[in-house]
């Protein structure tokens, strides 16, 4: 149960088994930064099916989960391989001419970035919609009838609205947490906080488990309190090939390699076999990786200065 104090440390296998079920709406968030590939791969290994996958940018992790047959629907705002091109496995399930025999088209529900962020905000705030200045004179509302207009109650015209999104489970990656699930993050914050507060269950995956005193020494850095976290997973390099600010760089070479791998269904399946199904967990995935490649992703340190919170007693 969330809310109780005490350790919530679990293995990824146990956290996914307990909190991700067939048919769930799952949000593995993280905008380019801190994407929990480790969680996505465990969901693939546990053969979850009929998931609705929500993410601003589905990225390689949802391309892999779609290729593995986990998804029935995508909710997103930008569907591509950032800096490289297309997500080919998803294209094979969204373009009728590319569909393999026996496969069906994925359902898609698309927004803009602000709309997608707003959906999590409305969900987290328990509001019936999020108003925003977008979509006007765009074909997006015709493509997605959930994007609607409402009259301002203050007599200044209509405003566009998007509905709340309350995922069954949000999975966020970050630099560190304590065993109770108080999560600290720096660098691009994406919508980790909003997705976590909107979700019914939260799995926090971190590079490092730290004592509670470390968290309390820098409370401004906390994005999510243990109060709303159901499971904490300690998973170093758990975001590879995405990155963690200060810990390791984005493996841009892999993002380019995936473009070639994912163009063919057979090559995609072969990659999933080698790097997901036949790998028991993230530690084994990292051990299997080329050590020099991994070392090259370590940045030169650039620590922040520290600030003085003061001792008031």
């Amino acid at each position: 149960m969330s809310g109780a104090t005490g350790s919530k440390l679990h293995t990824m296998r146990d956290a996914i088994a307990a909190h991700v079920h067939d048919g769930d709406t799952v949000a593995i968030e993280g905008f380019t930064h801190c994407i929990s590939f480790a969680a996505g791969h465990e969901i693939i290994r546990q053969k979850r099916r009929n998931l609705t996958l929500a993410r601003m940018t589905p990225d390689l992790i949802y391309d892999q989960m779609v290729a593995a047959g986990c998804a029935k629907k995508l909710i997103f705002s930008w569907l591509g391989n950032p800096g490289v091109g297309s997500l080919h496995a998803i294209r094979r399930r969204t373009e009728p001419s590319a569909l393999a025999p026996g496969e069906s088209l994925l359902e898609v529900e698309e927004y803009s970035h602000h709309g997608m962020v707003g959906r999590y905000v409305a969900g987290a705030h328990r509001l019936p919609f999020y108003p925003l200045r977008s979509y006007s004179e765009s074909d997006l509302p015709a493509a997605n009838p959930l994007i609607r207009q409402v009259e301002s109650p203050y007599g200044d015209g209509k405003i566009w609205a998007v509905p709340p999104l309350n995922p069954d489970v949000a999975i966020i990656h970050a630099q560190r947490a304590d065993a109770e699930g108080n999560v600290q993050m720096w660098g691009l914050l994406g919508c980790q906080k909003e997705a976590a507060f909107a979700a019914k269950r939260v799995i926090a995956v971190v590079e490092e488990i730290v004592p509670t005193e470390t968290i309390r020494a820098d409370p401004n850095r906390t994005i999510v309190p243990g109060l709303i976290v159901n499971a904490v997973v300690h998973e170093p390099f758990g975001a590879h090939p995405s990155y963690v600010q200060g810990a390791y760089d984005r493996d841009n070479a892999f993002y380019r390699e995936w473009d070639a791998i994912s163009r063919e269904a057979a090559a995609t399946d072969e990659w999933l076999r080698e790097w997901v199904y036949e790998v028991p967990d993230r530690a084994a995935y990292i051990a299997k990786m080329d050590a020099a490649r991994l070392r090259a992703l370590r940045p030169t340190p650039a620590p922040s200065g520290s600030v003085d919170y003061g001792d008031y007693r």
Partner: protein, 262 residues
């Protein structure tokens, strides 16, 4: 302007330099990846040193030490003025009216600067599924001005978009001005389109009009790579001023040393 050393400027270099120069006088620029990113970083090193670079991933005042491959590269964070949540970025910075110019591109553009980044073909059964809006739709509405960088071809400069993701001057200036007024848009719409052949502006009707031809480009090449009858002013069309040696050096040695983009 001194002649560039080394090889002649390529069409992509002409495009990046023309886009960078269009940023003169702008303070806050919403950057995209790829060519817009190089153009904006070039402008900051040349004609617009005070410019604040904003990345949709949640960074205000970025000073990237390397060229980011993705829109969310860690180099945009280190040394930035502010790193914020995407809710703050899209709400406080963009919708709040703090962005002077946004750079957009797309798979298709029409004569009024409307853009398609969503699908080629029918939406429900697309021939090609493109990435979609990302932040483009709200950038088009909330940035004070839009600039576009795109290579031109009959496939991309089309009479009719397959899908309008981001509004430009709609079906002409009269309609666009009415909507902007009635709905409180901050955007004055697209002002500049820079391609590999030319620089275009928009006339009083809100329609794309040729402004300058890049060195080496011809009117025939322009006409042959646009899917409608492009407006060309009467008289001689000026030539886009060629890149300076320093601009080419910055692109070749600092901004894109591996030639990944330009």
């Amino acid at each position: 302007m001194s002649a560039p050393k080394g090889p002649e400027a390529t069409p992509n270099e002409l495009m990046v330099v023309a886009a960078a120069r269009a940023l003169e006088g702008r303070r806050v620029c919403f950057v995209g990846v790829g060519l817009p990113n190089i153009a904006v970083n070039l402008a900051k090193r040349t004609i617009a040193p005070q410019m604040e670079l904003v990345y949709e991933a949640g960074v205000f005042g970025a000073s990237p030490a390397r060229l980011p491959l993705s829109i969310g590269d860690p180099t945009i964070v280190t040394g930035s003025t502010a790193t914020v949540s995407m809710h703050d970025l899209f709400g406080l910075y963009l919708q709040g009216g703090r962005i002077d110019v946004g750079f957009l591109g797309g798979a298709q553009i029409d004569r009024f600067g409307n853009l398609n980044t969503t699908v080629i073909g029918d939406y429900a059964a697309p021939k090609t599924r493109l990435p979609g809006s990302g932040g483009a739709c709200e950038i088009a509405i909330n940035a004070k001005e839009i600039m576009v960088i795109m290579r031109q071809s009959k496939r991309s400069f089309v009479e009719r978009l397959d899908f309008r993701t981001s509004p430009g001057h709609l079906d002409g200036a009269a309609h666009a001005e009415r909507v902007r007024h009635d709905e409180g848009w901050l955007s004055a719409g697209p002002t500049v389109v820079v391609t590999d052949l030319a620089v275009y502006g928009f006339d009083a009707d809100g329609e794309m009009t040729l402004r300058t031809l890049h060195p080496g480009a011809t009117l025939d090449a322009v006409r042959e790579s646009i899917g409608w009858k492009i407006r060309i002013p009467t008289g001689d069309v000026p030539t886009t001023p060629p890149p300076s040696a320093e601009e080419l050096r910055l692109i070749r040695e600092e901004l894109d040393p591996t030639g990944a983009y330009v």
